[in-house]
Every structure is written in structure tokens, then in C-alpha cells.
Symmetry: C2
Subunit: 136 residues, 2 copies
């Protein structure tokens, strides 16, 4: 566990949180700085920086807990939709280096946009496919 | 399976895709309209509209496949970070009603921002916590 990790301190009870759910492996609480009110975070209690560090036995339970929290956020805020989001490394806007899934309630016309989409030229898509697929 | 579902047609081989990975339960391919080149999608082969419809036996394998694809996207594009994103219902900007996780490669200064964050007033955070937690 990281001694200076805010989320580890929350897990250990050294910092408070607005707790929504807890089991042996996971903790869910409200984000202090919500994109929309009701915005929740779901973390494993063990300290893993990114998804690349999370072992199989945690991965296989994580999404089920995220779903459970998403159901509750949707019902509790009467939202019309839910976004899940998760950032790995600073380049992806990860602020706290302890993996966390964001569960964000959404409504029609709430003003939260999507990133603009581009397209591939000529054989570029095949080139990207080949470069990525060789690592799987 | 939805007869008119684009992703079901890809699964059945009726539409082409830039395939990155396939197993018995999941398929990963490049998004035709990438936020950044190398942007991948990971779907279950069965048709489920949102995460709320996905059963436990699929949930428990899904994140491991997403991680596998994320590792490959990061290596194959030489990215410095990875975002995972998943939208449920139109209000959350879900475009195709067959659940898909986005795997998006990121680099410092690539211009993809985060949604602005707000805060709670007075007892508002407790009120949201109570309304959500009662559904878990």
C-alpha cells in the first residue's frame, strides 16, 4: 500500500469518505468533486496504480461491483444514463495513482460532451490493427 | 441478438471489422471513427444493450479481456496512457445499443480534456449518499 495514497488512507479509515458500498475487496464512495452530483468512485482496497497492475482475481470481481454501484447511482439520482470511465497514467488524466472507476449519472442535455472523432486514411487502419494485434 | 444491430452483424461476419482479438465470448476491433488512432472497442458477442443487462458470467471475464486489449493498444501505439470509457443509454452518449468498452490511447498534451468538476453544498453530499446507498 502506498503510505501517501489518499485512497489507501480512505480504505484504512484515516481519511473520511461518503461510503456507498464496501466488501472484502472493494470500496465505493462519492467523488468529492463530482462531474455530476452522485458521481461515484469504485476502487479495489489493495493499492494498484493502473489496470495494468490489477491481478486476475480482482479483475474478475471488479466489474460486478461497478455494475452494482451503477444500478444504485442510476436509481438514487433518477438518471437517464450512466457513464463508466477509468484513466491510466497522467497522460490519460489520472489524478490519483490508485485505480478507480468513475460512475457518472447522466441526463439528456446535461452538457457533458464526447471527444471528437476522426477517421483513418487509406491503409492506415490496417497498419494500426497490425501494430496492436501483434501484442495480443 | 438484435437483427439490426451493427455489432451483432460484425460478430456474425455480415459486416467487416479491423479485428484485434477474439475468443469464445468477446471480440475486439478498431473503432471506425477513432478519438485517437488505435482507439479500440471490446464487446461481448452476445447482444446486451447496457451494463445493466450483462450477466455475471460475462462480467467476470470482460475486464480481463479489456485489460489484454489495453496492454496491446498501449504497446502498439506507444501511448503514454489509456482511457477506458463505457456509455449506457442515449443520455450518456451511447451511440450503438450493444455494450462496448472504449480503449483509447493517450499522450501528454493530446488535447483531450476532462469534464469539469463541481462540488457539493452543505449537507447535499450526505443526501446523495443516502439516496444512492439505499439501492445497493
Amino acid at each position: 500500500m502506498g503510505n501517501d495514497c489518499i485512497f489507501c488512507k480512505i480504505v484504512k479509515g484515516e481519511l473520511p469518505c461518503s461510503k456507498l458500498y464496501e466488501d472484502e475487496m472493494f470500496l465505493a464512495f462519492l467523488d468529492l468533486y463530482p462531474v455530476k452530483k452522485g458521481h461515484a468512485l469504485v476502487i479495489p482496497k489493495e493499492h494498484y496504480e493502473t489496470i495494468f497492475d490489477v491481478p486476475e482475481n480482482v479483475l474478475e470481481k471488479y466489474l460486478s461491483v461497478i455494475k452494482k454501484v451503477a444500478v444504485a447511482v442510476k436509481k438514487g439520482t433518477d438518471a437517464k444514463g450512466i457513464n463508466l470511465a477509468q484513466a491510466n497514467h497522467k497522460a490519460a488524466n489520472q489524478a490519483i495513482p490508485h485505480i478507480h472507476f468513475h460512475v457518472i449519472p447522466r441526463d439528456e442535455g446535461d452538457g457533458l460532451g464526447s471527444w471528437p472523432q476522426g477517421k483513418y486514411e487509406d491503409r492506415e487502419m490496417d497498419e494500426f490493427r497490425e501494430k496492436i494485434a501483434e501484442h495480443i
